[in-house]
């Protein structure tokens, strides 16, 4: 048999295996990177390559799966196994990879068009099934590879070549979608904040279950500055909220402001004190209510929340599948000839 399951926990190798000491450059492939100069994708690739050695997983046990679009070129640039598939289908391909081989560490790289438009259905269903894979959705709110059409996350009114009078479609929020689909790990980061991004990628990779990470990514050609109002270094402290588990939700240069709930509505408290009744973030809540409320905080009405919205433990698809196989084998050892003969036979001659 070809496949021997050698371990199935992402980020862990079974004892007795040689733990490789790898560096960032071990994950740099020999392929020439072909994104536009200045593209936010470079940062995401760099943080990923920096993060991967920390997982201590052999390169050959890592698989990157992507769909179609600028972001989906990603697997070519990582020195591991990679599958650049077809538009929207990366979650489905990855489902097959992981269901067949739970021992592999699987990453999905997708974009707002690939993952939310043509592949929206697959994204919902992989989140629902909870395969132990890590999904990085590059959200630049535009179609890049096809040269500048609006995407399902483009702001309403956005003028593009396909909407010269402005788009009349409401955008979709990837975090809200992931929460609604029951994702066991939902996070957001931005390309410009490399430290935060690397740490979120690491936590996502370590989570057992489907990890969904939305990364705000600047397309400097077709949608330049889409996130600069809150993601540039100088405005970040005031305009973004870094969610931390178990901590009051605070922001500002000195973390002087905070958030509390007025019913179901988040409310900014400037210069908050210990008595301000600030919301304490809890990523492990089974209910998605808190995470959902936080996910409704849109710029400019609120500072933009980044970090982990939700992280809960839930049985993975592949573990349950393996369990069914093991249980079935125990209940009824496989006897092929008996199976072929079936329940009712008769003998002639």
């Amino acid at each position: 048999m070809i496949n021997k399951t050698i371990g199935n926990k992402k980020g862990e190798i079974l004892s007795g295996e040689e733990i490789p000491v790898l560096t960032r450059k071990d994950f740099v492939s020999d392929q020439e990177v072909r994104w536009c100069p200045g593209c936010g994708d470079y940062s995401i690739l760099a943080q990923m390559q920096k993060m991967l050695p920390a997982l201590r997983i052999p390169r050959e046990n890592i698989v990157f799966v992507s769909g179609i679009g600028c972001s989906s070129r990603f697997p070519y640039y990582v020195e591991s196994y990679g599958f650049h598939s077809i538009h929207g289908r990366a979650p489905a391909i990855a489902t097959g990879v992981k269901a067949a081989r739970p021992d592999l560490s699987v990453f999905i790289v997708t974009g707002d068009g690939d993952g939310l438009s043509i592949g929206g259905n697959h994204l919902i269903h992989i989140l629902r099934r909870n395969l132990d894979v890590t999904i990085i959705l590059f959200n630049n709110r535009i179609y890049g590879l096809t040269k500048g059409q609006y995407s399902p996350t483009s702001d309403i009114g956005k003028t593009t070549k396909s909407a010269p009078l402005g788009t009349i479609e409401s955008p979709l929020d990837p975090v809200r979608l992931a929460l609604a689909a029951g994702a066991s790990f939902v996070a957001r980061s931005v390309d410009r904040d490399t430290t935060h991004l690397e740490s979120i990628l690491y936590k996502a990779a370590k989570h057992k279950g489907t990890s969904f990470v939305e990364v705000y990514q600047n397309c400097n050609i077709f949608n330049d500055g889409a996130f600069s109002a809150f993601a540039e270094k100088n405005v970040r402290p005031e305009k973004m909220v870094y969610l931390e588990h178990g901590e009051p939700v605070r922001f500002g240069k000195q973390r002087e402001h905070g958030l509390r709930l007025d019913g179901f509505t988040p409310e900014v408290v400037e210069n908050a004190t210990a008595d301000s009744g600030l919301l304490v973030h809890d990523i492990h809540q089974e209910s998605t209510a808190l995470a959902s409320i936080l996910s409704t905080m849109d710029y400019p009405d609120y500072p933009v929340p980044v970090g982990i919205f939700r992280q809960v433990e839930r049985a993975t698809y592949e573990d349950q599948l393996e369990m069914q196989v093991a249980q079935a084998r125990e209940n009824q050892p496989p006897e092929l000839q008996d199976l072929i003969a079936g329940q009712e036979t008769w003998v002639v001659g």
Partner: protein
């Protein structure tokens, strides 16, 4: 002519009989047909069956669209089809009579449940007057039985609601038929005892209904004689009953064991392919992983992902689903990964007629994708053969690292026949292109210079880290390559790789004379009708042979030479001439297309009639359903 000493009824010996059970879709006609089938199989007849059920799960009770039918033909000789026209029709209500009567042979036996010919039911079936009373059934031997009332009476002391009693009428009807053909009740009784072991009242009701119907038939004056169909002379061995979908699923499990590679089967429910998913889902103990995908694309993509990771990726669908999978099939082709795609064909285009059979996806399988994209295509010819051909699909996919499209159809999928259970020890192990050892300088795109097949480099193999994808790849390295010369070379290489599979497929065989006036060329589920018709034509002294193609791309290497040995080539197909297009284009042969596109399989007499016409023995040929 034997005399039954007890009842003094005549027993007429026949070599073959065809019986159709027809009723409302809630009347249990499929179950009744299956039980009668099993009884005859155990008795030793050769047989073939054809269920014909409505598209609606529960169409309005008593309506014409709600009629469900099951036909069985059983014989003391070799038999290949479920019979052209029934000799006996059981009609459980007026709608069943209306939709099935035209098929019953003139003078045939017609058994009806008279209780159901009530004004409301007659109206639903579009009868103004009861056909039982207006003399319109004079051409048949009408046996009008108060099945519902008699059955009620037999069950009256059981603690059941009237509606529940009504549900066992089919057993009453089965009891009549078993008596009519002089068959024991034992097989049905044994099955029922097992099936309803947890529900003693229902078991009792069904057994009583069965016996009451049987006793009624024995004592009534209405039935004048019984029929005897002697056991057939069939090859010795252990037999079972199998339909095409079951055989396909079991073939895949067997192939997985022969290849020593676990199956990953992903599928989206679609008629008539879903039963393959149902069957495979039962076999987790063989390491079979099944997944009900969110859509057709997900199903094929998950299968491809599993193949990439070293499993045997398989997906199953029907025509509309094949269309949705076409982009992904090309991905498997481009990435040179093994993939088996089952297409259990149904009547198209679009949604078409999901429960009706057709062979109209051949050209879709052949050409229904963007670019020059050859894949291997094979097709089983009989329900039992689905087992071997499923193994063949896996063997070719693993040998040539390619998608293989397996074209079954609704007729094969649901039709069943006795099947000589093969011994798995007689099958060869299936090799693949995985190599355990990775040497310095090895690459995922190392190719066999003769077959052009690349190695199966699966994740986990150190030193073979590589990227695959749908973008054109360099022949040598597998890296993205847009060079004109490389695309030209790769396109030819893909064609050559598939064409080269001919070395691994058996030669075409011919049934009948080696050369002659006419070759009837077929493929897929039309095998039974073609073979029966050609055998009959040969008996009539005509110079006719038949050849049934199992390997449609590439064709067997001796096919062209065979075609050249006959004056005329006739190609019957359940489509508007798709194999004809391929044969004409590839071999420049003036083949005569003969398409039937009614959603129903060929009748033997239709093919025989066409043979007569082509050979000049008759002036014209028309299907019965064609208007003048």
């Amino acid at each position: 002519m034997a005399i039954d000493s007890k009842s003094e009824e005549r027993i007429e010996t026949r070599s073959q009989a065809t019986v159709r059970f027809a009723g409302d879709s809630g009347d249990g006609m499929q179950l009744t047909g299956n039980q009668f089938t099993k009884t005859n199989a155990v008795y030793g007849n050769d047989l073939a069956t054809l269920p014909d059920f409505p598209a609606e799960i529960r169409a309005p009770t008593g309506s014409l669209p709600g009629v469900s039918g099951f036909q069985i033909s059983f014989s003391s000789n070799d038999i290949h089809t479920p019979g052209d026209n029934p000799d006996v029709l059981v009609a459980m209500n007026p709608a069943a009579l209306k939709t099935n009567l035209t098929d019953l042979i003139k003078g045939g036996l017609l058994i009806v449940d008279a209780d159901e010919f009530k004004p409301l039911n007659l109206r639903k079936a579009g009868y103004e007057k009861s056909p039982l009373e207006d003399g319109s059934l004079a051409a048949y031997q009408l046996i009008s039985v108060n099945i519902t009332q008699n059955n009620e009476r037999a069950l009256e002391d059981l603690d059941l609601k009237p509606k529940e009693r009504f549900l066992s009428r089919n057993f009453y009807a089965l009891g009549i038929i078993l008596w009519l053909f002089n068959r024991p009740l034992e097989t049905v009784e044994r099955w029922a005892t097992d099936k309803f072991s947890r529900n003693p009242i229902v078991l009792e009701a069904n057994l009583r209904a069965l016996r009451a119907g049987n006793a009624f038939a024995e004592t009534t004056e209405l039935i004048h004689h019984r029929y005897e169909v002697a056991p057939a002379e069939v090859a010795p061995g252990t037999y079972r009953h199998i339909n095409g979908n079951e055989a396909t699923a079991l073939g895949l499990v067997a192939a997985s064991q022969l290849a020593d590679i676990p199956i990953f089967y992903a599928s989206y429910p679609i008629t008539p392919a879903t039963d393959v998913l149902h069957e495979l889902a039962k076999h987790r103990n063989f390491g079979v992983k099944t997944m009900q995908a969110e859509d057709e694309m997900a199903a094929v993509c998950a299968a491809i992902g599993s193949s990439y990771a070293g499993s045997l990726g398989i997906t199953g669908t029907s025509g509309p689903g094949l269309a949705l999978k076409s982009e992904a099939i090309n991905l498997a082709l481009m990435t040179e990964l093994p993939l088996v795609v089952l297409d259990i064909q149904r009547a198209g285009p679009s949604t078409g007629m999901p429960t009706k059979t057709e062979q109209s996806d051949l050209l879709q399988a052949m050409y229904g994708r963007n670019g020059d994209s050859p894949v291997i295509i094979i097709a089983p010819a009989t329900p039992g053969e689905c087992f071997e051909m499923a193994i063949e699909a896996v063997r070719l996919a693993l040998t040539y690292m390619t998608p293989v499209i397996y074209l079954s159809d609704g007729y094969l999928a649901n039709g069943s026949s006795p099947w000589l259970v093969p011994s798995i020890a007689n099958f060869d192990p299936i090799p693949n292109n995985y190599k355990e050892v990775v040497r310095d300088g090895d690459s995922a795109y190392d190719r066999d210079p003769e077959t052009l097949v690349r190695r199966w480099a699966i994740p986990g193999q150190k030193g073979l880290e590589h990227r695959v994808g749908g973008i054109e790849k360099s022949f040598e390295t597998g890296n993205i390559n847009y060079e004109p010369s490389n695309h030209h070379k790769m396109t030819l290489a893909r064609a050559q790789r598939i064409a080269g599979a001919v070395r691994d497929i058996p030669d075409q065989v011919v049934n009948g004379p080696e050369k002659g006036d006419l070759l009837v060329l077929g493929w897929g589920g039309t095998y039974g009708a073609i073979t029966s018709a050609v055998t009959q034509a040969q008996e009539e002294g005509m110079s006719v042979a038949s050849a049934h193609i199992r390997y449609l791309n590439p064709f067997p290497k001796n096919l062209e030479e065979i075609l050249n040995r006959y004056e005329t080539i006739l190609i019957p197909e359940l489509n508007n001439g798709q194999l004809s297009v391929l044969i004409r284009a590839l071999y420049n042969v003036d083949a005569i297309p003969f398409g039937k596109i009614s959603g129903q399989p060929f009748k033997i007499k239709e093919i025989l009639g066409k043979i007569h016409h082509v050979l000049g023995h008759s002036k014209s040929f028309k299907f019965d359903f064609e208007e003048d």
